[in-house]
Assembly symmetry: C2
Homo-oligomer: 216 residues x 2
């Protein structure tokens, strides 16, 4: 059954791998699944055909037979559940891996996005400079808690899971801010994620699409 | 097997049902499951015993036999998956219900929380008044998309699901802002959620805990 995802025709990040399709590509690579990519322009994302797939007019989406999904978390969970080794078999451990997926998306990513938006959407506002430290401190608070929990382990809870895939992907968005480097434990955790062959393949594929260069 | 959740000893909202334990209580009531509540003080939430259960020092947590979970999304998903009728049996429909859970928590709640935080954490800042319309417009953008998708249906995708439970819970946080009333379709959707007997029992239970009055 062919798997088709959507991605930005040209990502706003120019191929740094921060657009959410990279998370789905990564999960597909971890699961060893082939997939096709349908690029979508910014204009097409807001038109009825795409809105039927994604009510909020974003990417990625996922189609596989009679399955049609939006929301990166749900797509990665579906891939993990149906195809891959991204969730433990033990029920209690599996539930905890799902908890880390939700933690990445509902507890950590909101403060990370606030920091991105502070620059992107309010960088030219008179309050930007005075407000930035407040937003950064909210990020630091979460990173400090996460770093304490991770301690000297490689992954959040046993073997690498969909929870780690999502948490690393969220933390990657902080790299340009310098905040990640304040937490060496987390910087090393992110580097471990990036060094996985499946991540490298996913990154190369999105880079090739965004630069027009071959990914090989 | 006894189910124990944690909740604020005294919720910051004084019992308006906006603390996240209400979402878990609601799911438990929909599933017809008994549960116990262990109240946690603000101080105890940041101490090692609670941090072992919840790395970010928040509520709710969930314990049931060898299952110990944090993150409301993961807890509600666990309840829905193991016990209840909150997820459709059909695989494609089930995956879409999970997508709505993630949409509530990763696409809608972040902008809703920004609006709450703008008042709570930055209400005394000189930029508050000028910045507020920007934050409100980001909420309106999401509500407009959600309202368009919901249309004249009762729930987001067929029968009431864990996706609706989560979306209604997130939207409830907007009531005091007045923004919900700008979208009658969504105001009616939230009212439908609130009128469910399971929601009423959950709301009454958290109110009783926060006011010290009986819930009967």
């Amino acid at each position: 059954m062919t798997i088709t995802i959507t991605a930005f025709e040209r990502s706003p990040d120019g191929g740094k791998g921060l657009a959410r399709d990279t998370r789905v590509r990564w999960a597909l690579e971890e699961a060893g699944l082939d997939y096709e990519v349908r690029p979508v322009s910014f204009r097409a994302m807001k038109e009825p055909a795409h809105l039927a797939l994604h009510p909020f007019g974003q990417i990625p989406t996922y189609e596989e037979g009679d399955i049609a999904l939006f929301e990166t978390g749900a797509i990665v969970f579906h891939i993990a559940e149906r195809h891959g080794s991204l969730l433990p078999r033990d029920a209690a451990a599996r539930a905890r891996a799902v908890a880390w997926m939700f933690a990445a998306l509902n507890t950590v990513e909101p403060v990370v996005l606030d920091l991105s938006y502070a620059g992107l959407l309010e960088g030219n506002k008179p309050w930007f400079k005075d407000r930035l430290p407040l937003v950064e401190d909210r990020v630091r608070n979460r990173l400090s808690q996460l770093s304490a929990r991770l301690g000297d382990t490689d992954w959040l809870d046993g073997a690498f899971s969909a929870g780690d895939l999502m948490m690393v992907s969220v933390l990657l968005r902080l790299r340009s801010s310098g905040l990640l480097d304040e937490f060496p434990t987390l910087a090393a955790y992110v580097a471990r994620g990036e060094s996985r062959p499946a991540y490298r393949r996913a990154f190369a594929a999105q880079l090739a699409q965004n630069t027009g260069l071959p990914s090989g």
